[in-house]
Symmetry: C2
Subunit: 162 residues, 2 copies
Amino acid sequence: MKLSEGVEWAIHSCSLLAALPTGAALPTRKLAAYFELSETYLAKNLQLLSNADIVTTRKGPGGGYALAKAADAISLLDIVEAIEGRSPCFSCTEIRRRGPTGIGDEAYKRPCGIARSMWKAEKAWRDELAKVSLHKIQAMALEETPDAQLEKAKIWFEEALA
Amino acid sequence: MKLSEGVEWAIHSCSLLAALPTGAALPTRKLAAYFELSETYLAKNLQLLSNADIVTTRKGPGGGYALAKAADAISLLDIVEAIEGRSPCFSCTEIRRRGPTGIGDEAYKRPCGIARSMWKAEKAWRDELAKVSLHKIQAMALEETPDAQLEKAKIWFEEALA
DNA sequence: TTAAATATGGATATATTTTATCCATATAAT
DNA sequence: ATTATATGGATAAAATATATCCATATTTAA
């Protein structure tokens, strides 16, 4: 029951992209450098974001990644699902139908109470993630990032976008 | 982001144990037979339930597993955590501190907004699981299990406990 | 008191998933 | 043209989940 590390990378990357001036883009190499991450593996995760239409890409020199839509139109759920997929965490294998007391499949009208309860909890998780926009994430980051880092980031951005 | 299959097995097993007459117990072999599961692997999962004090055990002939407390004092969360452990699904590796803009660890007072948001969603999931008692699970099962299966189960129990 | 049935924990094996890398190709900018 | 970039496929390595086996301790029943 672990989320892939790619989720953390993806959210931080999106949060950084949200700070880009309009029209600008950051390539994998620079994103990876910013967070000191494996470039090739981050590339795979960015691809997932791209396939999910969370980021857009521009190939060639000066290209890279940018958000595909406004930061308040992207939720944590969007990002988590882009990386982790949309299949439920709890997967019901219908063991109630097996064994000596099991009867024909047609007798079981709907998922069992166990599966329903597990899925309901999962929905609460997803609903909570859906409530948090990337805009909010960025706002929190802006507020809680130490000033010293903000200054370094400002310089880093100027150089990265030059 | 998958829950172990052991979670499903454990909940179904507990639900079955909840139906036992006072004083009775079911050994691994019979539990596994009921659901047609791998006996040795189920044994490992039952051990986790035992270590978490969700079930009690009695060794020797006529022994086996029984619930350690009333079914309404056991929640889905208890069972999930017994099998999956208690560590958070989202693990924050503090990538914000790394790279060219990172500064000293002492500058970061509390977990970042990303981690806090992810953990909050996780809490919603856990809270929801905590709300569902094994008693409720058993009641749902009793209500929705087809009559034909209930009859077979009754006979199976008589034989298993004889 | 003995034999049988059971849980326990450790060791180990196998399968699956996650993490990570590499490469060939397509595309865009200069 | 050349360079910088994303893409998707293939593959490799590491970690985790699944599964089995065994030696031991314990308890019951005969």
